[in-house]
């Protein structure tokens, strides 16, 4: 099976799309007319945002993503060459810094922020496995 989507459930889809455009330099690929679902231009594996309010009819339930609450145990990771610039841009846009850019033993530079909905977002340099 192919990994098709990472879908983050949020309170406000248009607001989240606008935030990701500003904070991480992404572009919107698609917005449903209901504004309850949108996709970002991220290549083959799509990053999508879906409105929380639609979940109950499918029998879903989860801990909602909230800025003030403990984040969920997963992250999305953006890869870029200039992590420091990307980190500063994200924080300037309103992300909460969690771990500023730093090098790890295997040569990668990584950093962590939380987005407007409290989701964990990693910004890192590409990892060269088997370098």
């Amino acid at each position: 099976m192919k990994l098709g989507y990472t879908i983050i459930y949020v309170k406000n889809v248009p607001e989240t799309v606008a935030f990701y455009e500003t904070a991480f330099g992404l572009s919107q690929r698609f917005m449903h007319e209901s504004t309850l679902y949108a996709e970002m231009e991220t290549g083959e594996t799509v990053l999508s945002f879906s409105a929380e309010e639609v979940i109950e009819l499918d029998g879903l339930a989860f801990a909602p993503n909230e800025k003030g609450a403990t984040p969920a145990g997963w992250e999305i990771c953006f890869i870029t060459e200039d992590v420091r610039a990307a980190f500063e841009k994200a924080v300037k846009a309103g992300c909460s810094p969690v771990s500023k850019p730093h090098e790890v033993p295997w040569g990668q530079t990584i950093s962590y922020v939380r987005d407007l909905n409290g989701c964990l977002v990693e910004i890192a340099t590409p990892m060269n496995l088997g370098g």
Partner: protein, 263 residues
């Protein structure tokens, strides 16, 4: 599970109305009785009959926590407005504290909502009735407390009633005692009772539509075990999970934010 014949709902999205969760109508061509499941919400209903000489009756329900049977004659019809949970006070005012599992009929109902007493007159038009009910509810603004409670109600629905009262209070930025006090004064129930109802409705949906075993449904719904789910279904539905009645009316009791399951 499709809705039984004769039952229709129109869900109001947040954009359309902040106070009304759904306007529903129901008609029964034959005499009989129906099981109504509790959903912790208040409705204001006009009950009438296809016979134009029958006098319509005003009904105001308090937040229900137990299932109950409604008996009806051939041709009986209902138009109801279901309020968001945090709007119980709109109908009951200070009497909300004693409104749990209560139903006000006739003069009692008219005393609670005198503005609607004029609807109990034979020969009205159904659309006028619907508009009058919705206008009445929308005309009552929600208190700041109601808005705060509304946020917690939202979390309760997103989490399927699985968050503890402590976690909910934490996210609401207040003590559990304060949260319970606010719930009592706007919903008319404790947070735990409302959460249990949300959990029950989700479990019912999982049992009917998840495609797994009863034990799977119990686990996914957040019960400690299947026995706990059985206990909840007996308490709120009067039936065992293995024995869900056919033709059960399961109106959309989600946060009322999206979708219309009726045609």
């Amino acid at each position: 599970m499709r809705l039984p014949d004769g039952y229709q709902e129109r869900i109001y999205t947040p954009q359309q109305a902040r106070s009304v969760e759904a306007v529903w109508r129901h008609e029964e061509p034959c005499a009989g009785r129906s099981l109504i499941l509790p959903d912790g919400r208040c409705d204001v209903i006009v009950r009438y009959n296809a016979d134009p000489d029958a006098v319509p009756r005003l009904v105001v329900t308090g937040p229900a926590t137990q299932p109950y049977w409604v008996e009806f004659e051939a041709g009986d019809r209902w138009i109801g407005v279901r309020l968001r949970p945090e709007r119980g006070r709109v109908l009951w005012g200070d009497a909300l504290g004693g409104a749990k599992d209560q139903v006000a009929l006739g003069d009692e109902a008219a005393a609670l909502v005198p503005e609607l007493a004029g609807l109990s007159v034979a020969g009205f038009a159904e659309t006028n009735l619907r508009h009058a009910l919705v206008r009445f509810v929308e005309g009552r603004p929600l208190s700041p407390e109601g808005h705060r409670v509304g946020e917690t109600v939202r979390r309760l629905h997103l989490t399927g009633g699985r968050f503890s009262v402590a976690e909910l209070a934490d996210r609401a930025g207040c003590s559990t005692r304060h949260l319970n006090r606010m719930f009592a004064s706007t919903v008319g129930l404790s947070v735990k009772t409302y959460a249990s109802l949300v959990q029950f409705h989700r479990a019912l949906r999982l049992v009917c539509e998840a495609g797994g075993s009863l034990s799977d449904a119990a686990f996914e719904a957040g019960y400690a075990d299947q026995a706990h789910m059985t206990r909840a279904m007996r308490r709120f539905g009067g039936f065992a999970p293995s024995d869900v009645p056919e033709g059960l009316i399961r109106p959309d009791v989600s946060g009322g934010l999206w979708g219309n399951r009726a045609t």
